[in-house]
Symmetry: C2
Subunit: 362 residues, 2 copies
């Protein structure tokens, strides 16, 4: 067996102890004689798995009892539709404000536009190729909006909010797919937080939705699978949930807790990101396109002063066991995604390779 350092933006690296445990329990989960994949979702063993995952997430994030925690399917993209379907109860008169910080904000906005006409852009950094997060004073917020939507970290452009926008009484909704659990967050500042699991939480196929209970149940007669209230009432078991993905999510949450919780994740993520940005900024051979104050701790895009060497960089990195470093076509160059499960040793190995590549080609 050989393991590489995998800098994929998602699905992404998972903690090795989580994978080892999943491997060891594959044919017989803790003496019950079957795989978690084979368990009835209504069985006592499985009910304990999903309850444990929810309890751990509540504990790690400090989620109050006034919030429901849902394990849904369809990724963040289905949430782009479910959020307006659930939070808007009068499509003819209500509005919502979207803060535009990249491709995912654009997709969220486009899907909301299909549900109701008056979706507004509270701010956008598109004019600077989404290289920074709009500041509070740049937001044009409508105090009568049903909600304000933000993307808390932007995987493609490598930017991240380092503050929580102030929206007054209007519920703040955050797509936290790519930085959930990477830093402490005051959940009470949000009406709804959602995240596809495949970056910081586990495998793809399960989407976490943390929603303030008073925001649910505003619309009757919705498709049952798309109704937060109906899902909450059944404890995410309205039908068969993605049982194995939730099991792995639970193992990841256990790992986060064992490591010291979200505060420790943040400490490590700052160390990793600071090192990597310093290596980029410290050499004219490398450059990072993002505004320093908006830089993401999760996704670090960088380019070469000699862009014709990009393919050689990627090939050399791969040969050194550093994979999935190709940048998104919107930005070009490289992108290193360094989520919770990326060890500091992986970042060190990348920096060592960058120095060696520069020495050979500089």
């Amino acid at each position: 067996m050989r393991r590489v350092y995998n800098f994929s933006a998602g699905p992404a690296v998972l903690p090795v102890p989580v994978l080892e445990r999943a491997r060891d329990e594959m044919l017989d989960y803790r003496g019950c004689g079957m795989s978690v994949m084979e368990m009835s979702h209504r069985s006592k063993d499985y009910m304990a798995i999903i309850a444990n995952a929810e309890a751990l997430l509540r504990e790690l994030m400090g989620i109050g009892e006034d919030y429901a925690v849902l394990f849904l399917q369809g990724g963040a993209t289905l949430q782009f539709s479910m959020i307006p379907m659930n939070l808007i109860h009068d499509p003819a008169t209500q509005t919502a404000d979207y803060i535009m910080t990249g491709s995912w904000s654009e997709k969220a906005y486009a899907e909301a536009k299909k549900i109701f006409a008056d979706v507004r852009q509270a701010a956008s950094s598109k004019g600077v190729n989404y290289s920074r997060i709009p500041r509070q004073e740049e937001l044009t917020l409508n105090p009568g909006a049903a909600y304000v939507h933000m993307t808390s970290n932007n995987t493609i452009f490598g930017t991240e909010y380092h503050h929580v926008p102030e929206t007054g009484a209007v519920p703040l909704v955050a797509d936290a797919s790519s930085n959930i659990l990477s830093r402490p967050v005051d959940v009470s500042r949000f009406g709804l937080i959602y995240a596809g699991a495949q970056k910081n939480l586990g495998p793809s196929g399960v989407t976490v939705v943390i929603v303030r209970k008073d925001l649910m149940g505003r619309n009757a007669n919705m498709p049952v699978m798309l109704d937060y209230q109906a899902q909450a009432k059944e404890g995410s078991m309205l039908n068969t949930p993605p049982t194995y993905a939730i099991y792995i999510l639970g193992l990841v949450l256990e790992w986060v807790k064992e490591q010291g919780g979200v505060a420790e994740m943040e400490r490590r993520n700052i160390v990793k990101a600071d090192k990597l940005y310093a290596a980029i900024d410290g050499s004219p051979f490398y450059a990072c396109p993002t505004e320093p104050a908006s830089r993401s701790r999760m996704n670090v895009p960088f380019t070469l002063a000699r862009p014709e060497l990009t393919d050689a960089f990627l090939a050399g990195a791969k040969a050194a066991g550093l994979v999935t470093l190709k940048g998104h076509r919107s930005v070009g160059g490289m992108r290193a995604s360094i989520y919770n499960a990326m060890p500091e040793a992986g970042v060190d190995a990348l920096i060592a390779f960058m120095r060696e590549f520069e020495r050979s080609n500089g």
Copy 2:
């Protein structure tokens, strides 16, 4: 490690060689240095996994190029809404016919009713507690309907279609969640076949939709995740698919092919079901509530002549390594789900236990 015989209705037993392979590949998929769970869905390795799963399903089921094969999320329950959303283009004037054969038909019907008003029941066996499948001559079909919906196997009541209803030019839509791949099916007789994977195909969290291409794209401006056309255009990669569930699905399909394909699955399923029904019918101690001509090969409900012994039966069976045999509350008693992956030895063990229990308590 200990393995039991797991008669769960779903999620259900998987082939042991599939679980062994998943275990062995958990930390390093075939030398690529990472788990399938950690792979970018756009990576070459993962693209090969999903393409292979689709190709195998097409081969095993004989699916023509005039059908799209989609790997979606949300289970059959989300399909209950997506089918009318996609197949009805004028909710004000169009109708659809639903053949009612149990709880899942009822749920499908209820969700369609939310999308458009004129949903009709072409037939129903509710009056006899869904103990049989309506015959062709009992169907009241509307030749102008947008589609006819059927549930090809009914997990709770233990009934199954052993014929394909004739619907003329009206597309036939089948929820085949609980008997897909258990017998050869002429796909060209159907407009759409859908199935949650967690019974005969793999783990929960992925839903297979096989849809005739001319039935897609009838409605513009749908939520993108709910639009068959949009999903087909992106090869089920409109967003991150449930990558690991699709990988396991592919391993199950490989196993089916190695065993001899769907025809061999049917042969084994007939052997298993015939044995079990014979054991039930052969003793006054046991009874099966379903009409013999409608009996399911997948889910076999049975009751005791002395129902007060049901708990003792279930406890004794569990002690003998025969688990998840409790019947659904709508039917009572026991239910043995004997999908493709249940070996004949499991059915033999159950029959032996039934004889022993009767001898001790008869």
